[in-house]
């Protein structure tokens, strides 16, 4: 039975951006889960270090060059990422497509450099426990790079195929997740490449 106090919501918008959306909260939860995965791996690294007199045990430390290059590429990718996010939130299809493509170029670059990073680790996963945790740290992050890359490719394709407003929200959230992938790299980078000197 309708009353005069009824709450009419028919005029409300049918999408929003940022922390007003369901997707934003779901993405934050995902970041917590993956942040815990990274944190636990880093704790494992530190724990294993505490059990060894020498670190890395009988091996040389990872070469710094490719890891540092990749850190630079990832940090630089924040610029096109932010521009993409901004245009998506303005619902401007052309620039969003363009800048998401630029992001993809960055993603392709850091994936290629990532392959070179594995070569610079100077250990295999089955050499010893140090090698195991270093490989896991790098690979966990690589999985995130790959996921983000595939995710962005699919989004770019959708932007050409059927760009509804909901997809702009997806692009915006994808950009937020991109920041997480870049920022979570920094502690992993420090641990893998500077752990032998700092710990």
């Amino acid at each position: 039975m309708a009353t005069t106090r009824d709450l009419d919501v028919s005029g409300l918008p049918n999408f929003a951006f940022g922390n007003r959306t369901l997707l934003w909260w779901a993405t934050v939860c995902l970041m917590i889960i993956e942040g815990m995965v990274f944190a636990i791996s880093i704790v494992t690294y530190v724990y294993l270090r505490g059990r060894q007199p020498e670190w890395p045990p009988n091996l040389s430390a990872p070469g710094l060059f490719w890891g540092t290059v990749n850190t630079m590429i990832m940090l630089a990718s924040a610029v096109p990422n932010q521009i993409t996010k901004k245009y998506a939130e303005k619902l401007q299809l052309g620039p969003t497509r363009l800048w998401l493509a630029v992001c993809l170029l960055f993603a392709a670059a850091f994936l290629v450099v990532r392959i070179l990073e594995y070569g610079a680790l100077n250990t295999r996963w089955d050499t010893n426990a140090y090698g195991s945790i270093v490989w896991v740290l790098l690979s966990l992050h690589t999985v995130h790079l790959l996921t983000d890359f595939v995710d962005s490719v699919v989004l770019e394709a959708v932007l050409f195929y059927k760009p509804t407003s909901k997809r702009f929200v997806d692009v915006s959230e994808n950009a937020a997740y991109w920041y997480f992938v870049v920022l979570s790299w920094i502690p992993i980078y420090v641990v893998i490449y500077f752990g032998p000197y700092l710990l």
Partner: protein, 643 residues
């Protein structure tokens, strides 16, 4: 640029159209594509109950073996599998998922919305869970059942001492069940934060939802630890990494830290939703709001935090620095404080209310009695000297069954009796319910109380037999008799449920006269839950409702539109269209399952499986005509500007 889709004239607040829009699809495809939270959660509840029965059968087999000294009913190898399967089943396939399943069913109703947030992810979680559970039991039948205990300690579970695939089965089971739990946690958090009915500000959120919210946060913080631990172990076994191999710089105690960093919060992940159930039942059957709402919420929150600071008390028998022992002893004792606050709040509520001694309420009283006893032995075990004496004895077995059965299964049984009418539309038989409770209470104490004494007399856990000279025979015989009584009470519950489904009295909207929103709609609720959507005016929505109570109007009926509200005050914010049923969550779950099983045998199973499993996820995400998202962005853009 895409062409604007013609936007048909929108239809609002029309029940017949709502029926049409939200109706689950028919046929086999419909069954596999369903995304309605009630449908998925009901499957979840039934599936977890099946695993509960299987886990219970395994326990009965163990009790039958231990009923007298030097029994030859079961040999050591099968016994090892039985206790591992029992523990893993009860923890991973019953206790955590059934609590979540209840949340997935009740929470969207309790907060007054039409579906859970991320409904396809919800369906995906269920299918992954189902595949994982079936995988465990098929492996068991193929003599590949895990046999190193539910906490699967290395080095016993490492490649050197456990060749074959039994341990790999356990490691993959963890992956299956934790993925299901994690996605469930995400859905519940987003639903509780963003889909509450207008007026249901956070300080009016029902205690059951608070409990589900805090549990979900614990899930997403704790579960990654066990996934990492089990994957480290799987890597050690599959590709010769050395995480737990001391010869190459690994460490066995690392496993215990990683496992218990999850394992202790896990206890609270099971227990906190049970506290929410208890609060719901106490409120309804004392006819008054629970005393000390704020204290209750703060107790739940602090339990959630302190629950992460206890894990080392499982490891007092390992070389832990004395400072660490003291810290974890203190934390373990401290957690008794918020639990105590809640117990006193419930007792005060019962004291001040007008108790109605129905079956769900009896289970709550049983919970209070048993849980207090379990809590007391918990405080005892928190003390290092006592813990060292009874470590790995039946005293510990008695303690955690008092806490888990008393603290979780009793409230759960109460909750099942309480919400059964809502889920099925029919009432359970009251007398049979009372018999179920009485037999469970007696059977439980007869089974587990003697185990305290057995433990103090030195009987270690996880032994398949013992010699007559120990004098443990009579007490074990008593425990076995008790286990039979428990089995009989569970059987009685099943008979009651089967009877009630056909012959039970019709429930109507609100058979208990309860206060929360799930009782404002029919039993069972329609696919769209509410028409019209409610507006909440107080902490006990149905008791506080005024005569001219307002409703929400202006929600479209011709698409699956729901209202999104703000996190703190639940003011209306915007509307979103919920995803329609889809087969792709099912296909994705099957591919993921295939990947996990293949990885049992070769590392390439992971590589190839990951690629194969990504494809259905992309198709799931890909926009389709049937998704109803027909409004092109320009239309929405003008809508946004108007707002």
């Amino acid at each position: 640029m895409p062409a604007d889709a013609a936007s048909p004239a929108a239809i609002y607040d029309d029940r017949a159209v709502l029926e049409e829009t939200w109706r689950p699809p028919a046929g086999l495809m419909g069954v596999l594509s369903a995304v309605n939270h009630k449908l998925v959660a009901r499957r979840f509840v039934v599936t977890t109950m099946v695993f509960f029965l299987l886990g219970g059968l395994l326990a009965l087999l163990m009790r039958w073996q231990l009923r007298r000294p030097e029994n030859t009913f079961i040999g050591p190898d099968l016994y090892n599998q039985l206790f591992t399967m029992h523990g893993s089943t009860m923890m991973f396939l019953f206790a955590v998922p059934i609590m979540q399943a209840l949340g997935l069913y009740v929470v969207p109703l309790m907060i007054g919305t039409r579906n859970i947030a991320l409904p396809r992810l919800n369906a995906f979680g269920y299918w992954v869970f189902l595949v994982g559970g079936v995988f465990l039991y098929v492996s068991f039948l193929l003599n590949m059942g895990p046999d190193a205990g539910w906490f699967n300690y290395v080095p016993l579970s490492g490649p050197e001492f456990s060749p074959g695939h039994r341990i790999d089965t356990w490691a993959q089971l963890v992956n299956f069940t934790e993925i299901a739990a994690l996605v469930g946690g995400i859905e519940l958090i987003v639903t509780i934060f963003k889909l509450r009915a207008p007026g249901m500000s956070l300080n009016r959120l029902p205690l059951f939802c608070w409990a589900q919210l805090i549990t979900s946060f614990m899930v997403i913080f704790a579960m990654p630890a066990v996934m990492m631990a089990s994957n480290f172990l799987a890597l050690d076994r599959l590709v010769a990494t050395h995480f737990f191999n001391p010869a190459e710089g690994g460490d066995a105690i690392l496993w215990q830290h990683l496992f218990w960093f999850f394992g202790h919060p896990e206890v609270y992940i099971i227990f906190i939703p049970a506290l929410g159930i208890v609060s719901s039942i106490v409120e309804t059957f004392t006819r008054r709001p629970v005393v000390g709402y704020t204290a209750m919420v703060l107790s739940l929150v602090s339990t959630g935090f302190i629950g992460f600071g206890l894990w080392v008390h499982h490891m007092f028998a390992t070389p832990i620095p004395q400072m660490g022992q003291s810290f974890f002893t203190a934390a373990s004792m401290m957690i008794a404080i918020p639990s105590g606050v809640q117990i006193f709040c419930w007792i005060a509520t019962i004291w001040l209310g007008r108790p109605q001694w129905k079956t769900p309420f009896l289970f709550v009283l049983g919970f209070i009695a048993i849980f207090v006893l379990g809590g007391l032995t918990g405080v005892m075990l928190a003390s290092v000297p006592l813990d060292l004496q009874v470590h790995d004895t039946f005293f510990v077995v008695a303690h955690f069954h008092y806490v888990l059965i008393g603290g979780a299964v009793f409230p759960l049984m109460g909750g099942l009796h309480y919400w059964f009418p809502k889920m099925t539309g029919r009432m359970l038989h009251e007398t049979l319910g009372r018999w179920t409770f009485t037999l469970l209470f007696i059977g439980f104490n007869v089974t587990f109380f003697p185990m305290h004494l057995l433990g103090i007399h030195g009987m270690p856990r996880r032994v398949y037999t013992y010699v007559p000279d120990t004098g443990w025979g009579p007490m074990n015989a008593l425990a076995t008799a008790g286990a039979m009584i428990i089995g009989f009470s569970v059987l009685l519950f099943l008979v009651n449920a089967a009877w009630a489904l056909r012959r039970g009295a019709l429930a109507g909207h609100n058979p208990w006269g309860a206060a929360t929103l799930e009782w404002a709609t029919s039993s069972p609720p329609p696919a769209y839950n509410f028409h019209p959507l409610p507006v909440v005016e107080g902490r006990s929505p149905l008791w506080d409702r005024s005569a001219d109570a307002p409703s929400v109007i202006g929600i479209r009926s011709d698409c699956r539109e729901v209202l999104v509200t703000r996190v703190l005050d639940a003011e209306p914010d915007h509307k979103v269209e919920m995803p329609a049923p889809s087969i792709w969550p099912f296909v994705s779950a099957m591919c993921l399952g295939g990947m996990f099983v293949a990885t049992l045998f070769t590392p390439w199973g992971f590589v190839v499986g990951a690629v194969v499993a990504t494809i259905p996820v992309i198709i799931w995400f890909w926009p389709k005509e049937s998704d109803h998202a027909g409004r092109a962005y320009r239309h929405d853009r003008s809508n946004e500007r108007a707002a």
